[in-house]
Symmetry: C2
Subunit: 195 residues, 2 copies
């Protein structure tokens, strides 16, 4: 259901943000009615009042988070130095867009979460339209970045690089001390060096 009063709208938004936070911290399984309510400082019933089902709440949370990430990506794009084209910094930028900003010693978990979301989409068909939309915008962003870096590439090449990064990440997850970002960086650097 959608809120009809200003205060109601604020409450609804608080729930969405709380749900998004839980999504980032603990994955889809962490987004529960009670957990969301507690995190937002609201009663349990408010979650079922503003959202007809848990799926609806999860969708709203994913959209909120996805939008925020795209905003971050666009900001990074705007401050891109056109001189930079193939150096370490450029690779790190692409990684930031695909894996999110580095999260220090929690980085492996943060990256893991992104791929849990991706894979979980397979079991939650209702998320696919949203995921496709977000993913499409991300692809476009990457195209822009390569172009602005004076290294224009085609759509196919972008998809190939994304696949390389994603594959490197999921394969790194089974290491004893996983460092998916480092694994992805190695792959990406190797694929982008001129031959």
């Amino acid at each position: 259901m959608t809120a009809a009063t200003p205060k109601g709208e604020r409450r609804r938004q608080a729930l969405v943000e709380a749900a998004a936070g839980l999504l980032v911290d603990g994955g889809f399984d962490a987004v529960r009615h009670r957990a969301v309510a507690e995190r937002a400082g609201l009663p349990l019933a408010s979650t079922t009042y503003y959202f007809d089902s848990l799926d609806e709440l999860v969708t709203a949370a994913l959209e909120f988070h996805g939008r925020a990430e795209l905003e971050y990506g666009k900001a990074r794009l705007d401050e891109l130095d056109p001189g930079e084209c193939g150096g370490e910094a450029f690779i790190d930028l692409v990684l930031d867009l695909l894996l999110g900003p580095p999260a220090g010693d929690r980085d492996a978990e943060a990256v893991l979460l992104r791929y849990e979301r991706l894979v979980a989409t397979g079991r939650r068909p209702y998320l696919r339209p949203l995921m496709r939309k977000l993913s499409g915008e991300l692809h476009g962003l990457l195209l822009d970045i390569f172009t602005r870096a004076g290294q224009p590439v085609g759509r196919e090449r972008v998809e190939e690089l994304i696949a390389l990064v994603d594959g490197a990440v999921v394969n790194a997850l089974i290491e004893i001390s996983p460092d998916p970002r480092a694994a992805a960086r190695r792959m990406l650097a190797k694929a982008m060096q001129p031959r």
Copy 2:
């Protein structure tokens, strides 16, 4: 706990196989005490008698399934025609090893499961040693296959191709009608064609 009597050993094995079946059909979340017991035609308590915890049962199921898959891979390797080296059939073979044998109209779900397993390992550190072992054997198998096909490659190249396939799969999962195997085949064919 480990069984000490022949009949007990048979029962324990039945539980493992039931759990593996559930794992394949519905992912980790489907492996529950009650579901396993019902599928094996055994009482609930038998699951807690032979396995100290659910994690132990999941581990046994994963190992059982992983071994079966490696057996399948080795069999495919043995019947490989040394003449075949870069054709469609060869690509399909590599895909079969990485994604399992094609499962018809249930293929997308079967493939999805493989990646749920991979990602779920991130949240279940106790599975990492086993996953590493299975993954290592699979890498070795692929090395053998490329060698036998008269197209020897290095370990790094194998890792790159695997990453490409894995990345193509996870990105295909968000399509409206996902066909991850086809997406992976496209990527693989492009990467393996001589330049």
